[in-house]
Symmetry: none
Subunit: 181 residues, 2 copies
DNA sequence: CCGGGACGTTCACGACGACGAAACACGGTC
DNA sequence: GACCGTGTTTCGTCGTCGTGAACGTCCCGG
């Protein structure tokens, strides 16, 4: 299924509007193909591009290659079946860690408040304050082999992001968008 | 002067190769304009795009707007959720630093008066005069890793701007003259 | 030309709170 | 019984923020 994530979807616009929506939600790269007379869309997402038809084959391939390149350095970590998968490998998660990691991956690159993490980890009956710290610590140690890290924002929360040196530009843009929303 | 940072550079390719290099180094958004018969470049940077000439004016404008939108969430520093984000990375801020940085980023590149900063940092009950200086110092040290700097305008206030590593050439020359005199 | 004052920079310190980390205890499972 | 998942206690470390003081620099009046 990961093969699909890196594959560029070619979408006729505006005919396939619904398919575009689904592709966006999946976070997959996509190239919009515009018929003559169609207005060019303005979207900031680095994984989306457009091209007016007819166009030279080479140009089309160049845009597809660019989107593929962005997507390949830009795979988001995902929580699947008690595991955290990222960059072609994965680590097992305990049930509680799964809830924590889920809350963090949903807002990848953005600050997730302590209370939000508390609610995610313990929907009812939150334990002592320190329990969260301990589980964040254990989660940290698990995911560092995936090239991920959890950074602290003191008195606010935590941020899940790429480890040192492997941050992709498009991710930064997206996480900043997420943070502002 | 700093208005240039968010502005999309229009670069004829491959005629203006050198200018392209400079623009890339600055991290500024750029749109390559290809003459007919030129091969389309494949670059993953979300702040770079290309277009084959001749092209409809609307299409050109659409691509420029997209680059501007990406640049605005990427090139200008922003205070979000207890962090200062800039150029793809970020640093945590203490609550007080967040208020200071907020006042400075709102007027990025312009002088912000001491009183304005005082009011931003301490809405009620301003502490000793020196407190502001100390916090500006600490903020300076934090943001230098982001390629940002706070410059002093004596008896007026402070200016938040790009650091020396990523300035336009004209700006660098100017600040070096100021320092050596 | 010199002295003094205003202003800015930097360091060191103290108090407090948030966070990190180790160690331990307990229950459930294979 | 060994192991894992989870929560708690305890203690150390580090961030935060105000203050005082030393030092440097600029400018102004004598």
């Amino acid at each position: 299924m990961d093969a699909m994530l890196g594959e560029v979807a070619l979408i006729h616009w505006p005919d396939e509007a619904e398919r575009l929506e689904r592709t966006r939600r999946r976070g997959a790269p996509r190239l919009l193909l515009l018929g003559p007379g169609t207005e060019a869309p303005a979207v900031a997402d680095p994984l989306e591009d457009w091209m007016r038809l007819p166009a030279p084959d080479d140009d089309l391939r160049a845009r597809i290659r660019t989107l593929e390149a962005r997507a390949s350095t830009d795979v988001l970590p995902r929580v699947v079946d008690g595991t955290l998968a990222h960059h072609g490998t994965w680590v097992p998660l305990s049930p509680l860690e799964e809830r924590l990691a889920g809350a963090l991956t949903e807002r990848f690159g953005a600050v997730v408040g302590r209370e939000a993490l508390m609610r995610a980890a313990w929907p009812d009956a939150p334990p002592s304050r320190n329990a969260l710290d301990v589980h964040v610590l254990r989660l940290r140690r698990r995911i560092e082999n995936l090239g991920l890290e959890i950074r602290t924002v003191r008195s606010r929360g935590y941020v899940l992001q790429m480890g040192n040196g492997q941050m992709a530009r498009s991710q930064m843009a997206r996480s900043q968008m997420a943070r502002s929303s």
